[in-house]
């Protein structure tokens, strides 16, 4: 590196400013459309599944219910040295 860091920064910032479109902040776009993804709220006052056994199953490693069967898109992810362990 011939240039000092200070010179490098000064030249980079000048370039960056020249490259950037002089539009100011990101346009927020159409007022009616720009509120973003509507992720569901979380707290509710409804009840859950009632008399199902969701809260009673033993999944603490001592009972039979803890059988972690992976059936998802992880099958599509391969390779890597760590996976050799499995």
């Amino acid at each position: 590196m011939k240039k000092t860091t200070g010179v490098l920064i000064a030249s980079a910032i000048t370039t960056a400013l020249a490259m950037a479109p002089m539009t100011g902040v990101h346009a927020e776009g159409d007022k009616e459309k720009c509120y973003g993804i509507a992720k569901a709220g979380q707290n509710d006052c409804k009840a859950g599944p009632g008399t199902s056994c969701a809260g009673t199953s033993t999944v603490d490693g001592q009972g039979n219910a803890w059988m972690l069967v992976l059936k998802g898109s992880c099958e599509k992810i391969v390779g890597g040295s760590l996976s050799e362990k499995s």
Binding site: A54, G72, S73, I77, G79
Partner: protein, 271 residues
């Protein structure tokens, strides 16, 4: 008859444990032969409502391990890490570490990083509103003085560094994404999480860029962070980085060096 505090503590304890509720609690309930079943409704609610919040937070993890495994993991997580806040918006902060500690998941070593990325996404989604840095703010600083300023990270900013192709894993598990094979041998990835307006954005950045950003996040001056980055990668292209990221919501303000600020605030400095 138990005082209110003892009764409520007993009730809470029993929500977190499977199997029969303790006799001390059952003794407090009206016994119509269904008391245990009635209590189970509350225990189900506790597990499922909080598990649902976790499922909303971690859709990619859910996709990767499948619904059944996710529910087992969620149930265990809810019991071990019950919600610590009054809102569920950011419930599940410890899920990444939790996943890292499950022996059956050792063959999926990337899961914890995926969980970190999903948490960062939601944290950015709910982060404080702030306008990204503007050209006007930058143009107000002399180029020669720019090395001495600090760039204040936007409140929504996160950078997740992973030894795995994290962004590809995330993208290929989005709704509607085409199925594709991903090899972990594709190598490492740093995902930049920003929210310049209301939409959360993810993009990959290089190791050198992540190093620079880390330095700036830690409060280094531009000069300090650049010097550190050049040690990692002498070919680092600062102009290209600034062109891409100076105004994209990575930063929101410029903080002047304290001595510069003094001079600006006190124009009539005594000699």
């Amino acid at each position: 008859m138990l005082p209110l505090n003892k009764l409520q503590q007993l009730f809470c304890d029993a929500l977190r444990v499977p199997g029969s509720p303790p006799p001390a609690l059952l003794a407090e309930l009206v016994n119509d032969g269904l008391a245990e079943k009635r209590f189970n409704i509350y225990r189900n609610n506790f597990i499922v409502l909080n598990g649902d919040a976790l499922a909303d937070m971690y859709p990619v993890i859910r996709q990767l391990v499948g619904e059944q495994a996710f529910r087992l993991l969620a149930t265990r997580y809810v019991r071990e890490h019950p919600p610590a806040e009054r809102t569920l918006l950011l419930y599940g902060e410890a899920f990444a570490n939790f996943l890292g500690g499950i022996p059956e998941l050792a063959a999926l070593p990337y899961l914890a990083d995926v969980a970190r990325l999903e948490y960062a996404w939601t944290d950015a989604y709910h982060a404080e509103d702030a306008a990204p840095l503007t050209q006007h703010q930058v143009a107000a600083i002399l180029p020669d003085a720019f090395g001495r300023v600090r760039l204040v990270p936007h409140p929504a900013l996160h950078c997740i560094r992973s030894p795995y192709p994290l962004l590809r894993i995330w993208e290929s598990n989005q709704p509607g994404a085409p199925e594709q094979r991903i090899s972990l041998d594709e190598g490492s990835c740093n995902v930049l999480v920003t929210r310049p307006g209301v939409e959360v954005q993810l993009q990959g950045i290089s190791d050198a860029e992540a190093t620079l950003l880390q330095g700036l996040q830690d409060g280094a001056t531009v000069e300090g962070a650049v010097a550190e980055t050049l040690q990692v990668d002498p070919e680092f292209d600062l102009a290209a980085y600034l062109g891409r990221h100076l105004f994209d919501g990575t930063f929101c303000r410029i903080r002047l060096d304290p001595s510069d600020q003094d001079r600006k605030n006190q124009p009539e400095e005594t000699p």
